[in-house]
Subunit: 247 residues, 6 copies
């Protein structure tokens, strides 16, 4: 009987908009999927109003934009090896509600995640991100209560990781964990390329992965043999790590 | 070639006074030793002035007190399975110096630790603790430099963990890691009992291990089967964790 | 005419669930009551869904659980010497609303507390706790406004103390005040024993009181004669202390 | 046997320069003295280089300036009812040393303070202030150790208060305590007027006392009858308050 | 094409109550207006319940109080050279709503501000202030989205400054910017005098401007010739400054 | 007489090692020099032990390494348009001393900087960086004191900017200022290419400038016409900005 979380088990990713999970956690998702774990992504909205500027400038309509974003996100999720579900709750603003939280509780109870990923609680550039995070955290707590009226068993206490926002320092994002995604980076790149409206982001997040990779090597203890091209993603833990080994 | 620190390899513990490593990290030490890893404890002083009140009240002299503390610490280290070395640098105050830092660099180069444990950088109750931590950290950085003139190879970048101070909240100690020490707690208890001058601490730190154990179970994800008697120690990381699994 | 708050006057305790006031502030309540002050506890919910796991596992129904929790909380309050009122607002989640805040304003205006106790504003393990605290604070501000339409006179500015959460460091709980509850600890223990569903908490919070007592003695200035068995509760102030003596 | 610090007993004030104790803690000193408590001020330097611009511009010499500052500080201390001792350790920079700390330990052991006042640990405008604070705190810890070789008994654990720096927000000064100095403000004003080189400070610190007084009234609970002219000084606690009453 | 914000362009001020913009930002407003820039003030409420104690004590009725406050605020805005609009959304509490945020979005789109001023996000003395700030920030983000359905073009990213709350340290207000308002201080004083219900505030905020002026001079680099009577207002930035010159 | 710092005047850069000023502040330096301002760089050491791994691995000797680093830094400074002076104080560790601080005071008094750049005060990867920053700040304060015995006039209060460390989040580096260096980026690149031992850094810091440029555009208010290739450097202010315009 070990106190250590092994990370073995399903991963749940709660994302405010359709593209967030790709830029910010595509490596973590692909890594988990590559080990045979189930990964479920919930997109609370399509990012149809706030993150589809190009489509609006081209004169597209709301429903059309939602369809485009949905198709892109589905393709990216497939590339990464993840299931995806859309709540279509609207963005800009993403409005918090008990109903949305309850839907998330049901997802938690069904997926029984061993790991949860979501946005940071602070983001002065985008209020939908913290709103998504607050709902993801509230639902996780409710799903743990045996008295909460939803199908399934009470949830354990899966660790929660915040993925990296666009301007990390302004969002109080101080990385606790650097995840080596070198072996799945090609998949992340391909998943990013499923999102053609934001071409400039492909290189931006490739550069970021390289930068986080350099930092990983700098913190990686005596692993001096790491390749020059190590790629990484950064995360912040919400709860203390539980373990049987200090490392 | 993995980016993950496995914790396999030697552990170095830098302790300001003779007893600190027992109360604050005895479980971590015993756990590491029980896996066959080398553990080296450096006591910068014996705690002869500041942490030997009972002996002073009994009228003992300085040199005698140092001998007593040394013998106790040696017994406790043996119980835990660790080597121990005393720098006899004096306490209350423990005065930082380039010479002490250089001695520590040589220990780092010789031990090549995979993990380092020391005091927190803040402690408004005891200025020797942060002084020890500052020297431990400075020596770790110097030991990494190929140009630093000391025997041995440049050090890798072993992770550093701060162990728990007596009044954690006042020392900005917010646990990042809860370590399950259940299986070695008996050894920690026996090591504590090697320090007869502080009998009241035996129960105090047993209670603390139980309390941290309760918290560990609360954070331990879906590991619902952990025993009621889980015992734990709490630590704070200085550097980001590097890993290949989010857990 | 003194600027010093003497603590003479009623105490108001705003608690999210039925048991919180006992574990976290039972000593403070008993101490105030033992001095002849009125103490009023408001339980916003019974903790029927989120903090009654044992009853749910035994197959009890919602209304039955609420009755059990109510009876236990009434017994505990009586033991401590406090009045108790239940808002029955539901838990997991406890949903904030203008109506609940307004009910609290009316309690403030009626009780005219000299001291207010409630939960911390951060608690990543339980969202009901911060929700209760936010409502308690909002109501306190509204009750101070002469223009707020509720019976009674405008409230003064009673000091607010946050009581200790289950995992203090993760809730940014850094004690500002250690309250000596030695003389009433027996009452707190008896009040805890009125809550039989959480037997393991009796010892947990007895240990905690002992631990906070040790810390109190360490900070208690020249009061070297404090008994070995000093018991304490920890609190955080929201507003600056006003006083005529530095001590 | 009470856990409460009553503030009854000597006060020790450790000040970097000759004028600091007047501007920043004159009210606290006068209040304590007016109750018949002994107050001892230690000025580590005269502020001869860094806080005597007017004298330098007038062409005065170093020794002359030191004499002027000393005489002024003695007059101000007398007005407030305090003893004063000068260490003449030099300023700009005030250099920390084991010898200075040892001298302070001896003062602690002799005075046996029930309350200690000093500068904040952060001050980006004046490095002498934090240097003084660090030495004051280190000496307090050393004086508590029975094994520290200095005359007198081991010190208890007197509470420490940081007094208000010139630019409080930049020094992380967030008031924990607002002290009502209304009844002794005249003495503080007279003491300030003993320092003629800094005339503009007389009104500046009178304004500040009024401003802190307004804040005190805003936090003073139901004490609605406080006079319009309440004057106050602000302080930050280093250690938790220990008490038997929440107020 | 320069990256530097010049401050040339309209200013938008979002104020919870009718008087806030005068006490806290009157200088900034007058300065901007004196340069010929448009300044628009939005008062979300009149402060009729929470900040009109004198009128209530005189027995005035709600509607009457609102009219008085409105007339005073209009006079003050005129004195400062600003337009003013009242949302009449109610105070104590000011309740956040999507409708209010949408009205603000429309104001942003119409005014196209180059600079935005509002309250701090923390204020334990007044929950309306953070509520106003949250809505001002949310509306600013929504107004930037091309997909948000409101007249006008998508907004740029105007910098946001929080103005000074009544108890700055308790609101985590650490000034980033000290604005020299010397040349328009007379106008600010006259605008304050348009608010006769709070006479004591005239001097309070005059003193504060002098105090912030002293601090400005202390931080003003080599501008040694600043007049003794420099007056200033303090602000906190939400986003990083963008510039082509470090100064 | 304006309170605004215009940035017109000399710039002083205090750098721990020979390369730091290039990677971290090369753009700011080139920009200032391109406007005709004097820029003076002080390198406290050559980085001969800690930042010359390649040379050590090639078997070079200490003196030789120092000469190489010096020549490279001189070439880079020339490229940027700056003067450079070497204190040759040794690195790994860079030991703080009154003598070094005094030498810096003399530089301050001679250069009379309008702007000062140095390292952050926290850097858990490199203790020389904070040591350099502490000395730079201490010297700046001493140089302001008329009573400090060094040639020249007392210094004004030039603003201080911390430049970006290698792992910004771990060094508590939260950018306050994003400086547009687009027009001088070619010079920065050429200066970087003067440091051939760290070829991998050329692209690393080019990527970083692009990343900070993207962030600058995101914060640059209504300056929508900024070029896609905006390059930037990030800085943190130590003191509040003083200004006559909010922008």
């Amino acid at each position: 009987m070990a106190a250590e979380n092994t990370g073995a088990g399903p991963m749940l990713v709660v994302s405010a908009h359709a593209g967030d999970f790709v830029w910010r956690a595509g490596g973590a998702i692909a890594l988990s999927a590559s080990r045979g774990e189930r990964v479920k992504v919930v997109c609370l909205s399509y990012g149809e109003r706030g993150e589809s500027a190009k489509a609006w400038r081209e004169g597209k309509k709301l429903e059309e934009i939602k369809q485009i974003r949905r198709a892109e996100a589905e393709a990216a999720a497939a590339e990464l090896g993840a299931e995806i579900e859309f709540f279509d709750a609207g963005d800009y603003p993403l409005v918090e509600s008990p109903e949305l939280v309850d839907r998330l509780v049901r997802v938690y109870r069904e997926v029984e995640p061993a790991v949860v990923l979501t946005h940071t609680l602070a983001d002065p550039y985008n209020a939908d991100h913290p709103a998504a995070a607050r709902m993801a955290l509230q639902a996780r707590i409710l799903a743990q209560a045996i008295g909460y009226d939803a199908p399934g068993d009470p949830l354990g206490a899966p660790p929660v990781f915040f993925f990296e926002p666009h301007q990390p320092e302004q969002c109080d994002f101080r990385p606790d964990v650097l995840l080596d995604i070198t072996e799945v980076f090609d998949r992340k790149r391909k998943a990013m390329e499923c999102l053609p409206a934001q071409v400039h982001m492909w290189d931006y997040y490739t550069d970021l992965a390289r930068r986080r990779g350099v930092q990983l090597k700098r913190n990686a203890g005596p692993n001096l043999g790491l390749p020059h091209t190590t790629m990484a993603e950064a995360f912040v833990r919400l709860y203390p790590q539980t373990t049987t080994v200090l490392a």
